[in-house]
Symmetry: C2
Subunit: 228 residues, 2 copies
DNA sequence: CGAGCGATTGAAAAGACTCAACCACCGTGG
DNA sequence: CCACGGTGGTTGAGTCTTTTCAATCGCTCG
């Protein structure tokens, strides 16, 4: 199994034009960008960047999902965020210039565009509305994260699971939630065994159905009610 | 006991010039700002804004500490952040225009400048380096928050307390940590009783000394070692 | 077919929460 | 000046939640 990813510059179906962040660009801007980005395919479980790496650019997700996580000293991961198609990953660290404090890797087959640091910074520098979009985006995430912190700090594992399932239901938007029990446990911040037991409870209560690696939400309202 | 705060526009010792965010301004810009801001004194436990309020401007802290927190349905608070002199509070929600998702109130006597929404937005609009500073600031907080989430989600209450004490030691910078046990518990995300018992343990291990409403860190290194 | 990973279950132990009571300090009004 | 009430701090005991460890099962891939 080769670890290399296939590179190609011309991608017809590139999300570039779809991404909310890049909506603000003119066709000309986008054409310039076209020449400076490089698209690649990634298999499942490939690392985009790791804690401590120096940021070299940003990643625009065309297809697939990326987990952003930190790694504890005992190797336990904590998933902080799951990025989906249209999102830009890895631009926070670029402004500070500091090494990454988190890692990012693919959770499924992905198609991703890479834009080098200087190209991206030029782009940002020449376009104030992009700056504004970035600020809005960051503010939104900061707010989301406040809610996440409150939930993690105060709630039982049961409620935390309900909360995370609601987040994932949004992220997977229509599709079934598709991740290993271990990843899910690393998102909720609990032991895999505890997670499995709670999923079983939820299943028995008719809240969801489980499949191999997949979870089907049946009663969104009741889950939401548990959380708030 | 009057609940009104004393308003005054001229404040000689205003932190405006000290704040890292406002370093980028010229004296002229600052002079303009001088006319549009209004400074006030606040007593302990006064609310700056509450969850659901519409943002009307930003708050620049001259003196004192502000807690930013969410309130659960059962009234339990979760402190997300403690802002200190020099920080600007409440500007995230301004860009999105959404109502506040958090509340802010004073933890001690405070002196605070208020800058109205339109004044602030004009300022930001006319000054790209301020935008850049804001982005850097937001990125930094986002990174901090990632670490906080990981800690809250994965660690025992004991380690979470150590982590929060380290944060507070930075925030109180030299001074003793000064907050009620309840607030501290609401920061760590635990019951007040549990917090008190752990503080007692830490005290017996020589890590800190407790006073009324105050905590004196004795062995920073060992606490830091518990966390990482 | 065998290895290995992911999922699952059971049982015991540890951790944290709840409830209930009590103490200590502080400012107020009589 | 002192009793009073209130807030904040502390302690104990019992209970529930969650973790840990150990073992088993099923499926997929080489």
């Amino acid at each position: 199994m080769s670890n290399k990813s296939h590179k190609y510059n011309i991608c017809e179906s590139c999300m570039l034009r779809e991404s909310s962040l890049f909506k603000v660009f003119s066709e000309d801007d986008l054409h310039d960008l076209e020449t400076s980005k490089s698209c690649s395919s990634f298999k499942r479980n490939q690392l985009l960047f790791g804690e401590g790496n120096i940021p070299r650019g940003v990643y625009l997700i065309n297809q697939g999902k990326i987990k952003i996580y930190t790694t504890g000293e005992e190797g336990k991961e904590q998933i902080i965020h799951i990025a989906k198609a249209g999102e830009i990953v890895g631009f926070r660290a670029m402004f500070s210039g500091d090494p990454y404090k988190v890692s990012a890797s693919t959770m499924e087959e992905c198609r991703i565009c890479f834009i080098g640091k200087s190209d991206f910074l030029n782009l940002v520098d020449s376009n104030k509305s992009l700056l504004n979009s970035l600020i809005r985006e960051l503010s939104k995430e900061l707010t989301e994260r406040a809610g996440f912190i409150a939930n993690m700090a105060q709630s039982s594992v049961r409620v935390r699971l309900a909360y995370v399932l609601m987040m994932l239901d949004d992220i997977y938007d229509g599709e079934m939630i598709n991740m290993t029990r271990e990843d899910l446990a690393n998102f909720v911040g609990t032991a895999t065994e505890t997670l499995i037991r709670l999923l079983k409870d939820f299943k028995e209560e008719g809240l969801l159905r489980t499949h191999i690696r997949k979870i089907e939400i049946l009663d969104r309202d009741r889950l939401l009610h548990m959380v708030k």
